[in-house]
Assembly symmetry: D2
């Protein structure tokens, strides 16, 4: 529901059926997954490897993200090696956060491994932290890198959605639906904490799709006393129960909100904290389609000579933005989405 | 994954946060669901009713589509009447196909009921058949009508996606994932029939997201002998199993494809025909969000004086097209989508 | 997995196909759901109502448990009124905890309502608290009552399983499976809190079915330092991740266990607290079958003249125990189950 | 819901916490999965391997059932090799139907492989066909074999439930629930075909748990005209829709039943044929628990010197029956189950 004007459209947008010519003269590319894992990463790796094979390129799979690149944990993988993984959560290439990559020496060693393996271009699937690592590789060693947005938080500038986001929303939504059953039968006020340390994308979409009464996100200040009063009013208006979605980044989290409400209106509240459950599970269709399209596009963009950019989707079209923009610019929850969630909870 | 150039962009597109003024001077609107039911219809009805209430309008709920409009099965519904339905499959307003509506007398009677109930505008949630009925009402009686695309088939011109489509895809995809388990352990060739009498949207997206080996759709001719040979080659290339998705509108359906393959290469095939299972189930997050956004937009567009148009979403922005275009123009499966599914199945 | 010798087999056990004769001469029975709601309560109500109708009896549905009985919120319901609810979570009859029922005056008023409605026997679906209320009604007013075990906790003496337990286990298990995805890719130690204030039935079965490394329940003391050391050893033995299931009734809960482990071995832990999510959702097949069988049996037992007993299932046979036993005797987690979970986590 | 008297209780039954002494002096056991795959087979293999390791034994994993035993596709597997598979559908050891095993020469070669690998006992996870193969091995070569019931059909004598059955039931039940949504909104008569070539266990339980109007199974003759009339009557009684469950082994299957009904009462019917979808998917909790318990018991029974028997569960206790009984005796759908499904569909 983000609108194109919230995003970088100054750059190039192009139809998805790229006319691919291997202008970069690639023979072998690398692929890694980095940062927190997200459902659909496997589908993206599969798309990279098979698109490469389709165009006659080889692929080197690198394990445990930049950590594994630093340590040289890598090897050739072919189309059969990525069979039967499109439906799997997590990432078969594993992922990790790397201390070594923070240092010039660490990156030098990684670059050396890429040279040794004759890798001409690298696809990095991850979030903004991962893209910073990729950017340094491009800047310092002239290695071609393309970023593919893979994070459940959907907080990356330059794409409407990130791979894994739809699955995380669906997982949290299933939890909300379950609360709704018991809320309609017995209990009154539920507070449920979803992921989102810096952005409320998951929280707002879950609130909208789950018909929640309130949503608390890091981007918007909220007066908990006013929220409590509103909950009380809605119960008086005839609502049998109230569901409040809280992003983990909202000050105090679900526990804080629950005690504030309980203190204010004296009604008991029930807390659920979903935590890392939202990272797992088989990716939903939308995440697999997005991962397939972007994995293909990343490989073909490398062939077309692109580098130091992330490929995303804006308005269902491919969108390329400089990697740097992904951490210097913000993509916040939009007013439209937030307001619609509020409007429909009356 | 349809690209904007496949769709009608000549018309107006606008950001979603409409500045709403009740220029049409509405006081009461009607809402009905028509044609085959689709998951998310309840969420759309909820959005219509609550948006109306938010803007101070009343809503009349009409049961069993144009049939119920003809018979006068209708009554006022308020925000509490649509509580706790956002997560329900099917449609609480019920739906039906109407013979009576085909005749001028039938429509006259429906128009009379609307006058009697003082309904100033009508939201029709359904597919192209339903929109033909709505269009006649607008043309013959000057009644304001807005269409909201609700059908699992996603075959409506003027919107990237229809309400219910994402849930149907997910349901079929879950089935494909299950076949994948047994295929990896034991059996070889599976043929699975999904819905889509005239268009292969579900089939192609399920093939792409499910990593299927082949997809057969009404829009594309296919040589079943060539398909059989390709299946045989892929088994020789090392694939443990082959999954073939067939849209019900492909000549011969799943049974036809299965026997052709069996005859050609002598391997046993296993057939699953999902049928109406794909119509049911709790709507996935994307269908609920789309239904909420379009239900709100339909109500606000009526207030803004619009009529005889369908409101859809193209590139995540609202898109209005004349109702007539929804059945005179076609939205077929795109080459990009179809080709990507093929490319990634190597 | 509880063995019959853990349970009361001294009482009568009988095959399920009761030869039913209406020896009690019933004409009208009542049904209510009480205490915390549990998935499958609707299926039990449906079975009571339809079995009654099959045998020519009428049924009065009482809303909001003993609260509604006290307030006279009741009315006749027939087979069509319980259509299409077998698959719904929660309870359509609603439930509540009742203060009024604690007083003799409160119960007198409830008994008066039953007389007024000419109810000859009452089926109470709930847990031990509800059965205490039912027992008083039988003792003080000679009203025939049969208990049906409905609670997700499975802590009722006299039955292998309670209605709702299997669904709660499945819901928690789905969460564990999701953690497993991300645990295999990235993170290390997960602590997940499941329901069970006084008994660890859910926790132990989830641990066994989820392949968890550790399980902490109220019935068994556990040395958290030893647990932490074991986790560390298992990681050294090659486990990529550790999942620890904690029943809410274990002292300190998930948060307590997580900080103890973190403090001891210095590894970060991730906490999920499922909370009331486990109460909701469509009942799984086993809960619907159990609810159908026990709902039928309760009605037929009333007809056969039984009263002040709970009907449960032991070893797949009907088992009747005095209501009083359900709160005076304990059904704890068995050694076999607990030990198998431990043994298989090596 | 089968009652103990339907089953062989003449044999030994014992509590699950076997006092295990390695009286057989085993050092190394083998394990294979055979016949059609079933969800939970992986959990059973895991239990066998880890129980063996716990007691100080080694395990040889044999791939592709008796086929792989014939071909010598085998190797040592340890506790880490079965990590993270408890939640997976299918079988990692793969399965196949073996022609070679039908011949004395074929079995001789398999026995030779077992000798070569110094396997002292063998656990065979599968159905009655697989147990015939196992029995011959025991009879002809004196090799200790224990059968573990793994098949979705639940048609094995000597156990209340087989591994995989509960998952298959749940998968089919989810499909029925989806039909219910659309049935309540629009369509009328649905016919859904579930697995069960020789027995109606899945069909009857799905009918009971799904609240279906009719169920057609191979064990019971049914007059389709009477069924059609009953459907018509139930629609007249006020049912909005009718769902008919057909086991694949019922003459004519779903298609046959659908046309008979359509012909008789002139109403359109909608057919779904689930097929092999029911074999796949992550095993539900009950199947994992059963697989864990029986896998452990099989290993410990081998240690205790048992052979040529299957270990099952009757009334939640372990039950051992001669392998031969599993194909010479029948376990049909019980009257109780069938009648309860009928009674509650009024």
């Amino acid at each position: 529901m983000t609108t194109p004007n919230d995003l970088d459209l100054s750059g190039e947008r192009q139809a998805k059926n790229l006319q691919v010519e291997n202008v970069a003269g690639l023979r072998r590319i690398g692929v890694l997954t980095s940062g927190g894992d997200a459902p659909g990463m496997n589908a993206a790796v599969r798309a990279v490897v098979r698109t490469a094979a389709f165009h006659g390129l080889e692929t080197v799979g690198i394990r445990r993200g930049f950590n594994g690149l630093h340590d040289g944990e890598m090897g050739l993988i072919g189309p059969r090696d990525v069979a039967n993984i499109i439906q799997r959560g997590g990432t078969r290439l594993l992922t990790a956060r790397s201390q070594a990559w923070m240092t010039p020496e660490g990156r030098a060693q990684g670059a050396e491994h890429l040279r040794h393996w004759e890798v001409d271009g690298l696809v990095v699937i991850g979030g903004d932290g991962s893209f910073q690592g990729a950017h340094l590789l491009a800047q310092e060693y002239g290695i071609r890198v393309i970023g593919v947005p893979g994070t459940i938080d959907n907080d990356l500038y330059g794409t409407d959605y990130t791979i894994g986001y739809h699955t995380a929303v669906q997982t949290a939504l299933d939890a909300v639906d379950r609360l709704r059953d018991t809320g309609a039968s017995h209990e009154r006020i539920f507070v449920i904490e979803v992921m989102g340390r810096h952005a409320g994308h998951i929280a707002v979409e879950v609130a909208l799709a789950g018909g929640a009464e309130e949503v608390l996100v890091p981007e918007r200040p909220a007066d908990l006393e006013a929220v409590a009063d509103e909950v009380q009013r809605s119960i008086k208006r005839g609502k049998t129960s109230s569901i409040i979605i809280v992003a983990e980044g909202f000050p105090g989290g679900a526990e804080g909100a629950a005690s504030a409400i309980n203190e204010r209106i004296g009604e008991e509240t029930r807390v659920s904290i979903l935590g890392h459950i939202q990272r797992g599970g088989s990716p939903v269709a939308r995440d697999r389609v997005l991962a397939s399209v972007l994995g293909r596009a990343a490989t073909e963009a490398l062939m077309a000579g692109r580098s130091d950019v992330m490929v995303g989707e804006v308005g269902h079209m491919l969108n390329f933005v400089p990697l740097e923009h992904t951490w210097t610019r913000r993509k916040d929850v939009t007013d439209t989405q937030y307001d619609t969630a509020k409007l429909l909870s009356i």
